[in-house]
């Protein structure tokens, strides 16, 4: 039996020492780097995790199995360790205006404790990373992807005025509790947590430690992301794991959950040649910023907003049962190549293959029938609206 690995960041391409394409330090032929250990490394192993190299860390890819973990998160509450992600504090005079140089969000008028999804852009409007940025008083708390964090810090430092400081917080773990039962579980230990709405954050205390919690996540479910001192992470993990509604969930299910939720993954569905408009992330380009410009890549991005981008990120329903994965080609009725799959796999919730990728704008309309080509085999597919599985965020004012 041979093994051909086609899919995302949680697969064993890393186990074989090939950093995935989202790793700016990586690429073919590089020597596998020394791997860092998570604060919860031995905790994961004691829970039966299979550990794989990912983003420079040994990370749990699965415990009991990806499908079971995936479905558990959709029905109960899943505990994810995402401590590989970079937690940054950016501060200094006029930090908000400075951040607007390379991100298209409105940071000047950003309200306190309201996380914003934003994009770090290069001069051509390509995406260097996607991230969450939250004003905390005078500072911004920014969470970036693990595989890109050092490149991000370097890029920002070179472009920020000298009086703006980036502190990379290495002493904090980051845990996510995701799923429809996440709020009721967390509320028992952290009273008041249920008052947070989707995309709201604040300081809390539990187990004698200060926590920073935001109601957000990357699974399409209601849930929370909890920044906690590393030394206290095990107390929280043990407490959560003791609740029968909670199970630890690995990177494998994290990937299938976010794919069903239609959320792009950096290094796969987003890269430095993709603009926010191509990626369908126009919501991250603020109205005032569209009018004023003044951010990296603004000319191209504003032109694409007006005239339409050359390609668009779309979802696909794939006929049959076989997964079509990253790298497959998208063909039109005449067999012309019109795009590429950037993420794809088997949807545990829908029990069928789903995929996302980029196609030329003239074939991007929902319902368009296209063919996908993988290893010489053709698959029938249709462009479909995303998310594949509806989001169930806890929006205030909604029932």
């Amino acid at each position: 039996m041979s093994r051909e690995v086609h899919s995302g960041p949680t697969d064993e391409t890393q186990a074989r020492g090939t950093p995935y394409s989202g790793d700016p330090q990586g690429g073919d032929g590089t020597v596998p780097q020394q791997l860092d250990k998570l604060a919860l490394d031995s905790w994961h192993r004691s829970k039966g995790a299979r550990m794989v190299p990912f983003a420079g860390y040994e990370m749990p890819v699965q415990y009991e199995g990806i499908i079971a973990e995936h479905l558990w998160t959709r029905e109960n509450a899943g505990l994810f360790d995402v401590s590989h992600m970079g937690q940054l504090f950016i501060h200094g005079r006029a930090v908000d205006a400075a951040l607007e140089r390379f991100m298209p969000g409105d940071f000047r008028d950003a309200k306190d404790m309201k996380p914003k999804y934003s994009l770090l852009l290069n001069e051509e409007g390509g995406i260097i990373d996607d991230l969450m940025a939250t004003r905390r008083g005078e500072d911004f708390y920014v969470v970036v992807n693990g595989a890109t964090k050092y490149g991000d810090i370097d890029y920002m430092q070179r472009r920020l005025p000298g009086e703006i400081i980036i502190d990379h917080v290495r002493s904090q773990a980051l845990l996510a509790l995701q799923g429809p039962k996440a709020a009721e579980v967390l509320d028992a230990a952290i009273p008041g947590i249920a008052q947070l709405g989707f995309m709201e954050a604040g300081p809390f205390r539990a187990f004698g430690h200060p926590l920073w919690i935001s109601r957000s996540g990357y699974t399409g479910e209601d849930g929370f992301e909890i920044s906690i001192p590393s030394m206290a992470a095990q107390d929280l993990a043990d407490w959560l794991d003791a609740d029968e509604r909670v199970k630890p969930i690995g990177l494998g299910a994290r990937d299938s959950l976010r794919l069903e939720a239609g959320l792009p993954l950096y290094g796969h569905d987003l890269d430095d040649r993709t603009t926010p408009v191509m990626a369908g992330l126009n919501f991250a380009i603020n109205k005032r910023r569209r009018a004023e410009g003044g951010f990296a890549g603004a000319m191209r991005i504003i032109a694409e907003l007006e005239n339409g981008p050359p390609q668009l990120r779309v979802g696909f329903e794939v006929d049959g049962r076989q997964p079509v994965r990253e790298g497959a080609l998208v063909l039109d009725g005449e067999g012309n190549e019109v795009g590429k799959i950037t993420s794809g796999g088997f949807s545990p919730s829908l029990q069928r293959p789903i995929a996302m990728g980029y196609v030329a704008s003239h074939v991007a309309e929902t319902g368009t029938a296209l063919k996908l080509e993988q290893r010489g085999k053709l698959f029938e597919a249709r462009v479909t609206a995303m998310p594949f599985v509806p989001h169930r965020y806890h929006r205030k004012g909604a029932a």
Binding site: T10, D11, I66, Q322, P348
Partner: protein
């Protein structure tokens, strides 16, 4: 009846001149949740080392090689219909295909069960 294993984690159960082929319990465990299996049709001739079947888990796609040459007499429709059978009973009902052995000499050099189970401990 004799049972053989390959270094590619296939098993071959030989009864007379018929070989039944599947993937080992170790292989299915490494693959994780299996979501797709494609088995060869009866009548197809496969030679040793040639791709004969496909198995895909949530995270990985693999070819199953023919460990010996011969003509396929049956593909297991049950695993094509319910690929999870490869996880639940890999060395039993989760077989992939049967073939009529062309050259029993090809079995020489394959591992027996004890050697295989010892060998995978070293991986």
């Amino acid at each position: 009846m004799s049972l053989y294993f390959t270094r590619d984690h296939e098993w071959i159960r030989v009864e007379g001149d018929t070989a039944t082929i599947g993937i080992s319990s170790h292989a299915q465990e490494q693959l994780g949740d299996i979501v797709f299996a494609e088995v060869p049709e009866a009548g197809r001739r496969v030679s040793k080392g040639q791709e004969a079947a496909v198995v895909e888990s949530v995270k990985a796609a693999s070819d199953v090689y023919a460990p010996v040459s011969g003509e396929v007499t049956e593909g297991n429709q049950a695993v094509a219909d319910d690929p999870a059978l490869v996880n639940s009973d890999p060395e039993g009902q989760g077989w992939f295909f049967k073939l009529k052995l062309e050259n029993p000499g090809e079995l020489d050099g394959l591992m027996d069960e004890t050697s295989y189970r010892e060998w995978i401990k070293t991986l």
